[in-house]
Symmetry: C2
Subunit: 253 residues, 2 copies
Protein backbone atom coordinates (compact mmCIF):
# COMPACT_ATOMS: atom_id res chain seq x y z
CA UNK A 1 0.00 0.00 0.00
CA UNK A 2 1.34 3.41 -0.87
CA UNK A 3 1.62 5.88 1.93
CA UNK A 4 1.58 9.63 1.41
CA UNK A 5 4.60 11.64 2.53
CA UNK A 6 4.46 15.41 2.52
CA UNK A 7 7.30 17.84 2.99
CA UNK A 8 5.68 21.12 4.06
CA UNK A 9 8.22 23.84 3.26
CA UNK A 10 6.67 26.16 5.88
CA UNK A 11 4.21 25.69 8.76
CA UNK A 12 1.84 28.15 7.04
CA UNK A 13 1.60 25.88 3.99
CA UNK A 14 -0.75 23.38 5.64
CA UNK A 15 -3.83 23.56 7.81
CA UNK A 16 -3.37 22.08 11.31
CA UNK A 17 -6.33 19.75 10.75
CA UNK A 18 -4.58 18.26 7.66
CA UNK A 19 -2.21 16.46 10.05
CA UNK A 20 -4.89 14.59 12.04
CA UNK A 21 -4.25 10.85 11.96
CA UNK A 22 -0.74 11.34 10.59
CA UNK A 23 2.74 11.42 12.09
CA UNK A 24 4.48 14.81 11.99
CA UNK A 25 8.20 15.51 12.18
CA UNK A 26 9.12 19.09 13.06
CA UNK A 27 12.44 20.21 11.56
CA UNK A 28 14.40 23.35 12.50
CA UNK A 29 17.98 22.38 11.68
CA UNK A 30 19.52 25.78 12.53
CA UNK A 31 19.20 25.29 15.41
CA UNK A 32 16.19 24.46 17.61
CA UNK A 33 15.59 20.83 16.71
CA UNK A 34 19.33 20.07 16.43
CA UNK A 35 19.72 21.45 19.96
CA UNK A 36 16.76 19.43 21.27
CA UNK A 37 18.30 16.24 19.83
CA UNK A 38 21.64 17.11 21.47
CA UNK A 39 19.96 17.87 24.80
CA UNK A 40 18.09 14.56 25.00
CA UNK A 41 21.11 12.62 23.72
CA UNK A 42 23.12 14.22 26.53
CA UNK A 43 20.65 12.91 29.09
CA UNK A 44 18.29 15.83 29.61
CA UNK A 45 15.02 14.49 31.01
CA UNK A 46 12.79 16.69 28.90
CA UNK A 47 12.60 19.88 26.88
CA UNK A 48 9.61 22.17 27.43
CA UNK A 49 9.19 24.36 24.34
CA UNK A 50 7.60 27.76 24.73
CA UNK A 51 7.17 30.80 22.58
CA UNK A 52 7.64 33.69 25.00
CA UNK A 53 10.55 34.61 27.28
CA UNK A 54 8.32 35.55 30.21
CA UNK A 55 6.42 32.27 29.89
CA UNK A 56 9.74 30.37 30.02
CA UNK A 57 10.81 32.25 33.14
CA UNK A 58 7.45 31.58 34.82
CA UNK A 59 7.54 27.83 34.07
CA UNK A 60 11.13 27.61 35.34
CA UNK A 61 10.32 29.53 38.52
CA UNK A 62 7.54 27.07 39.41
CA UNK A 63 9.87 24.03 39.27
CA UNK A 64 11.88 22.76 42.29
CA UNK A 65 15.26 24.49 42.52
CA UNK A 66 18.05 22.81 40.57
CA UNK A 67 15.78 20.72 38.34
CA UNK A 68 15.32 23.12 35.45
CA UNK A 69 17.54 25.12 33.10
CA UNK A 70 16.46 28.01 30.91
CA UNK A 71 17.60 27.83 27.30
CA UNK A 72 16.91 29.68 24.08
CA UNK A 73 17.72 32.61 21.91
CA UNK A 74 16.51 35.82 20.36
CA UNK A 75 18.14 36.92 17.12
CA UNK A 76 20.60 34.06 17.51
CA UNK A 77 21.94 35.11 20.92
CA UNK A 78 21.44 33.79 24.46
CA UNK A 79 18.66 35.57 26.36
CA UNK A 80 19.92 37.67 29.33
CA UNK A 81 19.64 35.67 32.57
CA UNK A 82 19.21 32.34 30.77
CA UNK A 83 21.46 29.35 31.55
CA UNK A 84 21.94 28.30 27.95
CA UNK A 85 21.68 29.72 24.44
CA UNK A 86 20.66 27.72 21.40
CA UNK A 87 24.05 26.20 20.48
CA UNK A 88 23.83 22.37 20.48
CA UNK A 89 27.39 22.12 21.81
CA UNK A 90 26.39 23.88 25.03
CA UNK A 91 24.05 21.00 25.85
CA UNK A 92 26.66 18.58 27.26
CA UNK A 93 25.76 15.80 29.68
CA UNK A 94 27.76 17.61 32.36
CA UNK A 95 25.34 20.52 32.11
CA UNK A 96 21.97 19.00 31.19
CA UNK A 97 21.85 15.38 32.47
CA UNK A 98 18.63 14.68 34.40
CA UNK A 99 17.54 18.30 34.01
CA UNK A 100 14.46 19.68 32.30
CA UNK A 101 15.19 22.45 29.82
CA UNK A 102 12.62 25.19 29.37
CA UNK A 103 13.47 26.36 25.88
CA UNK A 104 12.17 29.33 23.97
CA UNK A 105 12.77 29.69 20.24
CA UNK A 106 10.51 31.48 17.85
CA UNK A 107 10.35 29.41 14.66
CA UNK A 108 10.65 25.98 16.24
CA UNK A 109 7.93 26.59 18.81
CA UNK A 110 5.60 28.03 16.19
CA UNK A 111 6.06 24.91 14.06
CA UNK A 112 5.39 22.59 17.04
CA UNK A 113 2.18 24.46 17.87
CA UNK A 114 0.99 24.14 14.29
CA UNK A 115 1.81 20.41 14.15
CA UNK A 116 0.09 19.55 17.44
CA UNK A 117 -2.99 17.92 15.91
CA UNK A 118 -0.94 15.08 14.43
CA UNK A 119 -1.25 11.68 16.10
CA UNK A 120 2.43 11.87 16.99
CA UNK A 121 4.82 14.83 16.81
CA UNK A 122 8.48 13.84 16.42
CA UNK A 123 11.50 16.12 16.31
CA UNK A 124 13.96 15.74 13.46
CA UNK A 125 17.34 17.16 12.54
CA UNK A 126 20.25 16.03 10.42
CA UNK A 127 21.83 14.60 13.59
CA UNK A 128 19.07 11.98 14.04
CA UNK A 129 17.78 11.56 10.48
CA UNK A 130 18.17 7.76 10.29
CA UNK A 131 16.56 7.25 13.69
CA UNK A 132 13.58 9.34 12.57
CA UNK A 133 13.29 7.31 9.37
CA UNK A 134 13.29 4.11 11.45
CA UNK A 135 10.50 5.41 13.70
CA UNK A 136 8.46 6.49 10.68
CA UNK A 137 8.96 3.18 8.90
CA UNK A 138 7.55 1.40 11.95
CA UNK A 139 4.47 3.65 11.97
CA UNK A 140 1.41 3.72 9.74
CA UNK A 141 -0.49 6.60 8.20
CA UNK A 142 0.53 9.73 6.33
CA UNK A 143 3.85 11.36 7.17
CA UNK A 144 4.15 15.13 7.45
CA UNK A 145 7.64 16.61 7.48
CA UNK A 146 7.17 20.16 8.78
CA UNK A 147 9.97 22.58 7.95
CA UNK A 148 10.02 25.41 10.50
CA UNK A 149 11.58 28.00 8.20
CA UNK A 150 12.69 31.38 9.51
CA UNK A 151 10.19 34.17 10.11
CA UNK A 152 7.84 32.82 7.45
CA UNK A 153 10.60 32.28 4.89
CA UNK A 154 11.53 28.92 3.38
CA UNK A 155 15.01 27.78 4.44
CA UNK A 156 17.39 25.48 2.58
CA UNK A 157 18.54 23.57 5.67
CA UNK A 158 15.06 22.51 6.76
CA UNK A 159 14.06 21.65 3.19
CA UNK A 160 17.24 19.59 2.82
CA UNK A 161 16.54 17.63 5.99
CA UNK A 162 12.91 17.03 4.97
CA UNK A 163 14.07 15.90 1.52
CA UNK A 164 16.57 13.49 3.08
CA UNK A 165 13.99 11.90 5.37
CA UNK A 166 11.56 11.57 2.45
CA UNK A 167 14.30 10.02 0.32
CA UNK A 168 15.29 7.38 2.90
CA UNK A 169 11.70 6.61 3.75
CA UNK A 170 10.94 6.16 0.05
CA UNK A 171 13.84 3.71 -0.22
CA UNK A 172 12.58 1.81 2.85
CA UNK A 173 9.03 1.56 1.47
CA UNK A 174 7.75 -1.42 -0.48
CA UNK A 175 6.06 0.84 -3.04
CA UNK A 176 6.92 4.25 -4.39
CA UNK A 177 4.94 6.84 -2.48
CA UNK A 178 2.90 9.55 -4.15
CA UNK A 179 4.91 12.73 -3.61
CA UNK A 180 3.50 16.20 -4.15
CA UNK A 181 5.58 18.86 -5.90
CA UNK A 182 6.98 20.45 -2.72
CA UNK A 183 8.13 17.02 -1.57
CA UNK A 184 9.82 16.37 -4.91
CA UNK A 185 11.51 19.76 -4.70
CA UNK A 186 12.92 18.88 -1.27
CA UNK A 187 14.10 15.49 -2.55
CA UNK A 188 15.80 17.13 -5.54
CA UNK A 189 17.64 19.44 -3.11
CA UNK A 190 18.78 16.38 -1.15
CA UNK A 191 19.82 14.70 -4.41
CA UNK A 192 21.88 17.75 -5.33
CA UNK A 193 24.13 16.93 -2.35
CA UNK A 194 24.69 13.36 -3.61
CA UNK A 195 22.64 10.42 -2.40
CA UNK A 196 25.42 8.52 -0.68
CA UNK A 197 26.67 9.38 2.77
CA UNK A 198 30.25 10.00 1.71
CA UNK A 199 32.72 12.84 2.07
CA UNK A 200 31.29 14.69 -0.98
CA UNK A 201 27.78 14.47 0.47
CA UNK A 202 28.95 15.76 3.84
CA UNK A 203 30.78 18.68 2.27
CA UNK A 204 27.81 19.63 0.11
CA UNK A 205 25.42 19.48 3.06
CA UNK A 206 27.73 21.74 5.04
CA UNK A 207 28.05 24.12 2.07
CA UNK A 208 24.24 24.21 1.70
CA UNK A 209 23.84 25.10 5.38
CA UNK A 210 26.52 27.80 5.14
CA UNK A 211 24.92 29.49 2.14
CA UNK A 212 21.44 29.42 3.65
CA UNK A 213 19.90 32.49 5.25
CA UNK A 214 20.09 30.89 8.71
CA UNK A 215 23.71 29.88 8.16
CA UNK A 216 24.71 33.36 7.10
CA UNK A 217 22.99 34.83 10.16
CA UNK A 218 24.91 32.47 12.46
CA UNK A 219 28.23 33.32 10.80
CA UNK A 220 27.43 37.02 11.33
CA UNK A 221 26.75 36.35 15.04
CA UNK A 222 30.11 34.56 15.33
CA UNK A 223 28.32 31.22 15.73
CA UNK A 224 29.64 29.55 12.59
CA UNK A 225 30.84 26.53 14.60
CA UNK A 226 27.19 25.66 15.27
CA UNK A 227 26.66 25.11 11.54
CA UNK A 228 29.31 22.38 11.54
CA UNK A 229 27.64 20.68 14.52
CA UNK A 230 24.16 20.92 13.00
CA UNK A 231 25.40 19.54 9.65
CA UNK A 232 26.67 16.30 11.21
CA UNK A 233 24.37 13.49 10.17
CA UNK A 234 23.14 10.52 12.20
CA UNK A 235 25.23 11.25 15.25
CA UNK A 236 22.44 10.21 17.61
CA UNK A 237 19.82 7.47 17.74
CA UNK A 238 17.41 9.47 19.90
CA UNK A 239 14.08 10.61 18.48
CA UNK A 240 12.59 13.38 20.60
CA UNK A 241 8.79 13.38 20.71
CA UNK A 242 6.44 16.13 21.80
CA UNK A 243 3.84 14.70 24.18
CA UNK A 244 1.08 17.19 23.58
CA UNK A 245 -0.95 16.34 26.73
CA UNK A 246 1.79 17.60 29.07
CA UNK A 247 3.63 19.65 26.45
CA UNK A 248 7.02 18.05 27.09
CA UNK A 249 9.53 16.72 24.61
CA UNK A 250 11.03 13.42 25.73
CA UNK A 251 12.71 10.52 23.94
CA UNK A 252 10.22 8.47 21.90
CA UNK A 253 9.88 4.82 22.89
Amino acid sequence: MTRPIHVHLLPALFEPADLRGGVAVVIDVLRATSTIVHALAAGAQAVIPCGEIEEARRIASQAPAGTVLLGGERKGLRIPGFDLGNSPDEYTSHVVARKKIVMTTTNGTRALLRAREARRVLIGALSNESAVVEQLAAETGPVHLVCAGTDGKITLEDTLCGGGIAHWLDLAAADAFPADDATRLAMILFDSCGRDYDRVHEERVLATLRQSLGGKNLIECGLGADIVTCAEQDKFAVVPELFVHDWEIRAAR
Copy 2:
Protein backbone atom coordinates in the same frame (compact mmCIF):
# COMPACT_ATOMS: atom_id res chain seq x y z
CA MET B 1 25.83 46.93 -7.95
CA THR B 2 24.07 43.79 -6.84
CA ARG B 3 20.40 43.52 -7.55
CA PRO B 4 18.03 41.37 -5.55
CA ILE B 5 16.15 38.62 -7.36
CA HIS B 6 13.41 36.72 -5.58
CA VAL B 7 11.64 33.60 -6.69
CA HIS B 8 8.36 33.53 -4.76
CA LEU B 9 7.21 29.90 -4.80
CA LEU B 10 3.58 30.97 -4.25
CA PRO B 11 1.70 34.28 -4.46
CA ALA B 12 0.83 33.94 -0.75
CA LEU B 13 4.53 33.95 0.18
CA PHE B 14 4.97 37.70 -0.29
CA GLU B 15 3.03 40.81 0.61
CA PRO B 16 1.77 42.80 -2.42
CA ALA B 17 3.53 45.93 -1.09
CA ASP B 18 6.89 44.08 -1.16
CA LEU B 19 6.81 44.36 -4.96
CA ARG B 20 6.54 48.15 -5.13
CA GLY B 21 9.33 49.63 -7.19
CA GLY B 22 10.30 46.23 -8.55
CA VAL B 23 9.59 44.33 -11.75
CA ALA B 24 7.40 41.24 -11.38
CA VAL B 25 7.17 38.25 -13.70
CA VAL B 26 4.08 36.11 -13.24
CA ILE B 27 4.65 32.45 -14.12
CA ASP B 28 1.95 29.79 -14.62
CA VAL B 29 3.59 27.35 -17.02
CA LEU B 30 0.71 24.83 -17.02
CA ARG B 31 -0.94 26.60 -18.70
CA ALA B 32 -2.16 30.19 -18.29
CA THR B 33 1.03 32.13 -18.98
CA SER B 34 2.17 29.69 -21.70
CA THR B 35 -1.18 30.26 -23.41
CA ILE B 36 -0.94 34.05 -23.07
CA VAL B 37 2.52 33.97 -24.70
CA HIS B 38 1.13 31.83 -27.53
CA ALA B 39 -1.89 34.12 -27.99
CA LEU B 40 0.18 37.31 -28.32
CA ALA B 41 2.80 35.56 -30.49
CA ALA B 42 -0.07 34.53 -32.78
CA GLY B 43 -1.13 38.14 -33.17
CA ALA B 44 -3.86 38.55 -30.55
CA GLN B 45 -4.19 42.25 -29.77
CA ALA B 46 -4.59 41.77 -26.02
CA VAL B 47 -5.55 39.33 -23.31
CA ILE B 48 -7.88 40.53 -20.58
CA PRO B 49 -7.42 38.30 -17.53
CA CYS B 50 -10.31 37.85 -15.15
CA GLY B 51 -11.10 35.60 -12.25
CA GLU B 52 -14.79 34.81 -12.69
CA ILE B 53 -16.69 33.25 -15.57
CA GLU B 54 -19.61 35.68 -15.34
CA GLU B 55 -17.22 38.64 -15.34
CA ALA B 56 -15.57 37.28 -18.50
CA ARG B 57 -18.97 36.91 -20.22
CA ARG B 58 -19.98 40.46 -19.21
CA ILE B 59 -16.73 42.02 -20.51
CA ALA B 60 -17.04 40.10 -23.78
CA SER B 61 -20.69 41.09 -24.24
CA GLN B 62 -19.80 44.79 -23.96
CA ALA B 63 -17.27 44.64 -26.82
CA PRO B 64 -18.18 45.21 -30.51
CA ALA B 65 -19.22 41.94 -32.20
CA GLY B 66 -16.36 39.92 -33.68
CA THR B 67 -13.59 41.69 -31.77
CA VAL B 68 -13.44 39.48 -28.70
CA LEU B 69 -13.03 35.76 -27.95
CA LEU B 70 -13.74 34.05 -24.66
CA GLY B 71 -11.04 31.69 -23.40
CA GLY B 72 -10.25 29.80 -20.24
CA GLU B 73 -10.81 26.69 -18.20
CA ARG B 74 -12.23 25.19 -15.07
CA LYS B 75 -10.64 21.98 -13.80
CA GLY B 76 -8.56 21.91 -16.97
CA LEU B 77 -11.49 21.91 -19.39
CA ARG B 78 -13.01 24.52 -21.71
CA ILE B 79 -15.88 26.44 -20.14
CA PRO B 80 -19.29 25.75 -21.80
CA GLY B 81 -20.08 28.44 -24.36
CA PHE B 82 -16.49 29.72 -24.52
CA ASP B 83 -14.63 30.00 -27.84
CA LEU B 84 -11.37 28.59 -26.52
CA GLY B 85 -10.03 26.48 -23.68
CA ASN B 86 -6.62 26.93 -22.10
CA SER B 87 -4.53 24.87 -24.55
CA PRO B 88 -1.78 27.02 -26.10
CA ASP B 89 -2.11 25.17 -29.42
CA GLU B 90 -5.69 26.40 -29.82
CA TYR B 91 -4.41 29.98 -29.99
CA THR B 92 -3.34 29.99 -33.66
CA SER B 93 -3.06 33.18 -35.71
CA HIS B 94 -5.98 31.97 -37.81
CA VAL B 95 -8.19 32.09 -34.72
CA VAL B 96 -6.85 34.92 -32.58
CA ALA B 97 -5.09 37.47 -34.86
CA ARG B 98 -6.24 41.04 -34.10
CA LYS B 99 -8.72 39.76 -31.51
CA LYS B 100 -8.89 40.50 -27.81
CA ILE B 101 -9.12 37.41 -25.63
CA VAL B 102 -11.08 37.62 -22.39
CA MET B 103 -9.45 34.84 -20.42
CA THR B 104 -10.45 33.37 -17.10
CA THR B 105 -8.09 31.09 -15.20
CA THR B 106 -7.99 30.71 -11.45
CA ASN B 107 -4.35 30.49 -10.41
CA GLY B 108 -2.89 32.80 -13.07
CA THR B 109 -5.38 35.58 -12.44
CA ARG B 110 -4.90 35.34 -8.68
CA ALA B 111 -1.14 35.71 -9.15
CA LEU B 112 -1.56 38.72 -11.46
CA LEU B 113 -3.83 40.43 -8.94
CA ARG B 114 -1.30 39.88 -6.18
CA ALA B 115 1.59 41.20 -8.31
CA ARG B 116 -0.20 44.36 -9.46
CA GLU B 117 1.68 46.76 -7.19
CA ALA B 118 4.97 46.11 -8.98
CA ARG B 119 6.28 48.87 -11.25
CA ARG B 120 5.91 46.51 -14.20
CA VAL B 121 4.14 43.14 -14.40
CA LEU B 122 5.52 40.84 -17.11
CA ILE B 123 4.26 37.39 -18.08
CA GLY B 124 6.76 34.54 -18.25
CA ALA B 125 6.72 30.93 -19.39
CA LEU B 126 9.29 28.48 -20.66
CA SER B 127 8.34 29.50 -24.18
CA ASN B 128 9.63 33.08 -23.74
CA GLU B 129 12.23 32.65 -20.98
CA SER B 130 15.15 34.28 -22.83
CA ALA B 131 13.03 37.22 -23.95
CA VAL B 132 11.95 37.78 -20.34
CA VAL B 133 15.58 37.64 -19.19
CA GLU B 134 16.47 40.25 -21.82
CA GLN B 135 13.70 42.59 -20.65
CA LEU B 136 14.74 42.15 -17.03
CA ALA B 137 18.42 42.74 -17.81
CA ALA B 138 17.48 46.06 -19.42
CA GLU B 139 15.50 47.11 -16.34
CA THR B 140 16.63 48.32 -12.92
CA GLY B 141 15.38 47.49 -9.44
CA PRO B 142 14.50 44.26 -7.66
CA VAL B 143 13.11 41.37 -9.68
CA HIS B 144 10.22 39.29 -8.36
CA LEU B 145 9.51 36.00 -10.09
CA VAL B 146 6.01 35.05 -8.96
CA CYS B 147 5.11 31.38 -9.29
CA ALA B 148 1.33 31.01 -9.56
CA GLY B 149 1.22 27.47 -8.11
CA THR B 150 -2.01 25.47 -8.14
CA ASP B 151 -4.71 26.09 -5.53
CA GLY B 152 -2.17 27.33 -2.99
CA LYS B 153 0.26 24.45 -3.61
CA ILE B 154 3.82 24.88 -4.87
CA THR B 155 4.30 23.44 -8.36
CA LEU B 156 7.48 22.09 -9.93
CA GLU B 157 6.88 23.63 -13.35
CA ASP B 158 6.54 27.21 -12.11
CA THR B 159 9.48 26.80 -9.72
CA LEU B 160 11.58 25.40 -12.58
CA CYS B 161 10.75 28.35 -14.84
CA GLY B 162 11.49 30.84 -12.03
CA GLY B 163 14.78 29.08 -11.31
CA GLY B 164 15.74 29.21 -14.99
CA ILE B 165 15.05 32.93 -15.29
CA ALA B 166 17.02 33.57 -12.08
CA HIS B 167 19.89 31.45 -13.40
CA TRP B 168 20.15 33.27 -16.75
CA LEU B 169 19.73 36.68 -15.15
CA ASP B 170 22.50 35.82 -12.68
CA LEU B 171 24.78 34.89 -15.58
CA ALA B 172 23.92 38.14 -17.36
CA ALA B 173 24.64 40.24 -14.25
CA ALA B 174 28.00 41.87 -13.58
CA ASP B 175 27.92 40.77 -9.93
CA ALA B 176 26.47 37.76 -8.21
CA PHE B 177 23.08 38.67 -6.81
CA PRO B 178 22.03 37.97 -3.24
CA ALA B 179 19.57 35.08 -3.51
CA ASP B 180 17.29 34.04 -0.68
CA ASP B 181 16.77 30.35 0.10
CA ALA B 182 13.60 29.91 -1.98
CA THR B 183 15.42 31.40 -4.98
CA ARG B 184 18.37 29.02 -4.46
CA LEU B 185 15.95 26.13 -4.23
CA ALA B 186 14.40 27.09 -7.58
CA MET B 187 17.85 27.46 -9.16
CA ILE B 188 18.87 24.03 -7.83
CA LEU B 189 15.75 22.56 -9.47
CA PHE B 190 16.75 24.22 -12.75
CA ASP B 191 20.31 22.90 -12.31
CA SER B 192 18.95 19.39 -11.82
CA CYS B 193 17.74 19.52 -15.45
CA GLY B 194 21.24 20.44 -16.68
CA ARG B 195 22.34 24.01 -17.32
CA ASP B 196 22.84 23.76 -21.06
CA TYR B 197 20.01 23.94 -23.54
CA ASP B 198 20.65 20.54 -25.07
CA ARG B 199 18.62 17.42 -25.69
CA VAL B 200 19.22 16.12 -22.13
CA HIS B 201 18.01 19.42 -20.67
CA GLU B 202 14.90 19.38 -22.86
CA GLU B 203 14.04 15.84 -21.88
CA ARG B 204 14.52 16.52 -18.18
CA VAL B 205 12.36 19.65 -18.34
CA LEU B 206 9.62 17.66 -20.05
CA ALA B 207 9.95 14.85 -17.47
CA THR B 208 9.75 17.40 -14.64
CA LEU B 209 6.54 18.86 -16.10
CA ARG B 210 5.05 15.40 -16.59
CA GLN B 211 5.70 14.31 -12.99
CA SER B 212 4.33 17.55 -11.54
CA LEU B 213 0.86 17.77 -10.06
CA GLY B 214 -0.32 20.01 -12.92
CA GLY B 215 1.18 17.67 -15.50
CA LYS B 216 -0.52 14.64 -14.03
CA ASN B 217 -3.85 16.47 -13.97
CA LEU B 218 -3.50 17.35 -17.66
CA ILE B 219 -2.63 13.76 -18.57
CA GLU B 220 -5.76 12.63 -16.70
CA CYS B 221 -7.86 15.13 -18.69
CA GLY B 222 -6.42 13.76 -21.95
CA LEU B 223 -4.47 17.00 -22.46
CA GLY B 224 -0.96 15.53 -22.26
CA ALA B 225 -0.01 17.13 -25.60
CA ASP B 226 -0.24 20.53 -23.90
CA ILE B 227 2.64 19.55 -21.61
CA VAL B 228 4.91 19.07 -24.62
CA THR B 229 3.93 22.48 -25.98
CA CYS B 230 4.40 24.21 -22.62
CA ALA B 231 7.83 22.55 -22.12
CA GLU B 232 9.24 24.04 -25.34
CA GLN B 233 11.76 26.72 -24.42
CA ASP B 234 12.39 30.07 -26.11
CA LYS B 235 10.00 29.54 -28.95
CA PHE B 236 8.85 33.15 -28.91
CA ALA B 237 10.46 36.55 -28.43
CA VAL B 238 7.27 38.21 -27.15
CA VAL B 239 7.06 39.38 -23.55
CA PRO B 240 3.44 39.96 -22.54
CA GLU B 241 2.97 42.75 -20.02
CA LEU B 242 -0.02 43.49 -17.84
CA PHE B 243 -0.89 47.18 -18.08
CA VAL B 244 -2.58 47.63 -14.76
CA HIS B 245 -4.33 50.94 -15.58
CA ASP B 246 -6.53 49.33 -18.25
CA TRP B 247 -6.04 45.72 -17.06
CA GLU B 248 -4.96 44.43 -20.45
CA ILE B 249 -2.03 42.20 -21.30
CA ARG B 250 -0.24 43.35 -24.45
CA ALA B 251 3.25 42.86 -25.84
CA ALA B 252 5.84 44.84 -23.87
CA ARG B 253 7.81 47.43 -25.87
